[in-house]
Subunit: 240 residues, 2 copies
DNA sequence: CGTGAGCTTGACTTGTTTCAACCAACGTGG
DNA sequence: CCACGTTGGTTGAAACAAGTCAAGCTCACG
């Protein structure tokens, strides 16, 4: 499960966005045979497994290589809010570069391969280059934009709008990485992920999804989602 | 309305938290007669006035001196989500240190006095001192914690829980600044602010507030809020 | 003195939850 | 290889929380 190594040895899907640029610059990820960057440990986690729970001390900075992760908060009575989905090439949360006590839990959505870097190493690398600090600032800005968007969606939008927006925005993030072909992309989320991410119950989320399917907006087959009427979905989500 | 000056000349309420520490360190705020810090312009804005609208370019970094501000997002059909209340001594959003195009609007809740600093000056000051960068990292972490909390509240909690949590957390922030006496503090929010911050309608928010009043949890008189049964309110908000 | 912003209350509607039943796919162990 | 439990999805009926609409009130302000 844990495997210490000094050389990046795995291909990195996707190539756009500040996250990936920072990862590249710090050599947190890299193409096969890339020169040595920061030392890291590589881990694997089976799907649906909790990696860290809220308030736990995480001594490292984790970056996802393969698969999807999610960050979430669980209340005492079992209600759960998913705060973000973490796609390949993304830092789980820039929060962890600054502070080791994580406020939300992190879990594997799919089978997951990720790397952890020593916080001190990351900080040292950042300290040596102002450009990296600027890049980190941009990543944090993207994170706050996403967090703000989530609050607007949860506070002001109804079930159909929320779900449409979730699907469209995931498809856009994946498209930027070249992971969408003919409107189809890998979609590992179960209905309970969608429900927890949109603040709805599983039952209601499921009803909205079958509505979308029946309206000819999209289709989910196995682990793949196909946008049949992308413009229609965007319209439902008011994403003009 | 605009008044350029080189010396901090106004008392700063409150004295705790990374925000204020950073402001102090950068001399963005300071006690009367403090030595010169970064140059700034001082502005005043009457209550209920919009200061910047979403997507507007803000060439400066604004810090509130006196009064409350709010950041919000407004949808095309008028729905509005308040993302944060900005109290005296706080940077409106650390986002603006990095990037000038603001994603949410900023408005004065009360009559407001605030200062704006040139982004380049702030960046230069940060570049000269790694401690300041660390402090900024902590501020950003606090901002993401608050944003995450908001998403959890909006996604998972009912009306009474949301409103109780809003009131208690505002009272705690104010208490840290020494602005609460005998459970009473200045509370300039109208019901529509509470509604927009909690994702409820004004009518429903009003009903919950009168419930709280009748249950002997709190009281609002004029612009002052009194916590009569603080523990009870915390219980309603599940803030143990 | 009138006008508008803010608060309260009640009756009714709607979106979402809850509960319950049922089905399909899958992996595991006997 | 079948039996069985688990996980995930679909559907319908009833209950409930919050939204909508509307009226009437107070208060501050010009």
């Amino acid at each position: 499960m844990v495997n210490t190594q000094k050389h990046a040895d795995a291909a990195c899907q996707g190539c756009i966005g500040y996250e990936l640029n920072l990862c590249r610059a710090l050599r947190l990820l890299g193409p096969e045979g890339a020169p040595a960057g920061l030392p890291f440990r590589e881990h694997k986690m089976p799907a649906r497994r909790l990696i860290w729970r809220e308030r736990e001390t995480v001594e490292t900075v984790p970056v996802v290589c393969d698969g999807w992760a999610a960050t979430a908060v669980t209340l005492s009575d079992g209600r759960r809010q998913i705060l973000s989905f973490v796609l390949p090439g993304e830092i789980v949360s820039a929060y962890l570069i600054v502070e080791p006590v994580i406020t939300c839990s992190v879990e594997a959505v799919t089978n997951l391969r990720y790397r952890t870097f020593a916080r001190a190493d990351v900080k040292a690398a950042l300290g040596q280059c102002p450009d990296l600090i600027a890049m980190l600032g941009n990543i944090r800005n993207e994170e706050t934009m996403r967090a703000d968007q989530l609050a607007v969606d949860l506070g002001q939008r109804d079930a159909a709008e929320r779900i449409a927006r979730l699907i469209v925005s995931l498809s856009e993030r994946l498209a930027r990485r070249g992971l969408v072909r003919d409107g189809t992309f890998e979609f590992p989320l179960r209905q309970h992920h969608i429900a927890d991410a949109t603040g709805l119950t599983v039952v209601h989320a499921g009803k909205v999804l079958t509505e979308f399917r029946r309206a000819g907006l999209m289709e989910i087959n196995g682990r793949a989602l196909t946008l049949i009427d992308a413009a229609g979905l965007r319209r439902v989500g008011e994403m003009h």
